[in-house]
Symmetry: C3
Subunit: 205 residues, 3 copies
């Protein structure tokens, strides 16, 4: 699980760095946005649940991974041929962050609502803060099934783990979140939205 | 008081949902913005005052009210004839959230500054977060006497309750905040602002 | 040190008020943005490190300083001849907030990462929140060596204080941060950024 978490950190940091480059931020801005995207979800969770100093601050290996990811993005700027693997890795990050936070929430005996909040905010909070800092309407509110995949996966996890145990259910839900994200992405399945008083079921950007 | 709090939650959720529809967010975004607008103020208060896990997470009836409000907004999209009652209900929410938070602050023996912060942020914090997520300059900073009504009411409450008791002063200040908001809204009374080095006393949009 | 902190509060409040006027906010918005800019960094620090109710709420003299600063800005609107001294004073605020927070962090026995976060966020957090509320891509991510001066100063402080003691190292690093900020500002030294896949070393706004 820790290995997957590192992948998640790496990819989320990269997405922050790429976003910062598009906004013409300087090298410090690039590193900052990479850091905030990678750990913003977890820090928000720790702040809202009041557990003391956020875990991130005692994990120097996290900062190492973020640094490496940022340097790689800077070196590879422009050559975005790796975009396909990026979507894949990002979906890994989304699944792992959701389930890892969910396990901690269950161990902390949180109730259902707190469990849901903790799972989803850890997975999508970093991207949310990234978009706020970069002055974009948060992607997770607007396009693609992203936070919803995390949410559906977390609910399934909550219902499954008393039946089949923490280990099996966590791996099942990991795969489940990953699949929802990847399938809806490639089949361009979207949630409906409303425009001019009509409900639209297809995105027509 | 609880009944009025439910009205406040309902109306704040509706204002978030309407804002999300205007920004063409999908159904998940609409529900998220409704939730954040309804409970953002209270959660911010609980996070800043460090009282442990925010109260919202143990109140599942809150989520019910937000859900119903969101569904109603989605069903009624377009037909905005109910706008007049909306301003009224929103002013109810503003008053009740201010005073309910103020009562809790007094019971927690907070000092004046903390009391003020807690009262006002509970009432206007949700709308603030809504505007940040929707990429608008927060309305409460720009137009209309809104946060100011909450602020003036909270100050009056602080000065009145040692004189005439918590119950009477709370109802008086409820009516006071509601009146300030409604009267300044319909008489188009604004605070002054500065443009080109001149102080303007009338809004000229 | 307290005297310098007051200067910092005063200048940060002024920068918030000026920004609010540019955005045509009303008098309440001007005071709010001034307050948030002046104390946003410290409050964020207190919230993230979970120390209970933020220190600001028990310091009524802080609010006095912010009020005076805001009133002065409103009275002096338009006449911006004092811009040179403003940059100077702002650099004083940046240095003092960094080092004052750093001293508290050392006294609280925080580790290196927490120390760094606490020092830098106290100094630049207020400006960050100001820019988010005013709907700007945060200046500290985009232009000029600002947060970087705070960061470099904090790192130096961390390395120096075990060698030459808290008092001497704090004054040395104060001067160091101030100098980095002022020299890079007047010599227009910037961090590199990336555009069209190329690394640029000079800002060409």
């Amino acid at each position: 699980m820790t290995f997957f978490e590192y992948i998640g950190l790496f990819v989320f940091a990269a997405s922050g760095a790429i976003c910062a480059i598009e906004k013409r931020m300087d090298f410090f801005g690039i590193l900052t946005l990479a850091t905030v995207t990678a750990i913003g979800g977890g820090v928000t969770r720790d702040v809202v649940t009041n557990i003391g100093i956020p875990i991130f601050f005692s994990k120097s290996e996290y900062m190492m991974i973020i640094l490496i990811s940022t340097i790689l993005v800077i070196l590879l700027r422009g050559s975005m041929k790796w975009k396909i693997s990026f979507i894949m890795l990002d979906a890994v990050g989304l699944s792992v962050f959701t389930i890892a936070a969910g396990i901690k929430a269950i161990e902390s005996d949180y109730n259902f609502m707190t469990f849901l909040f903790v799972s989803v905010i850890t997975a999508v909070g970093g991207g949310l803060i990234r978009d706020i800092l970069a002055q974009e309407v948060p992607t997770i509110l607007k396009r693609e099934i992203y936070a919803v995949a995390s949410l559906v996966g977390a609910i399934s996890f909550w219902m499954l783990y008393p039946l089949i145990g923490l280990t099996i259910s966590s791996y099942l839900c990991l795969i489940f979140i990953f699949s929802i994200r990847i399938i809806t992405y490639y089949c361009q399945i979207h949630l409906p939205y409303i425009e001019n008083g009509k409900i639209h079921f297809k995105q027509d950007q």
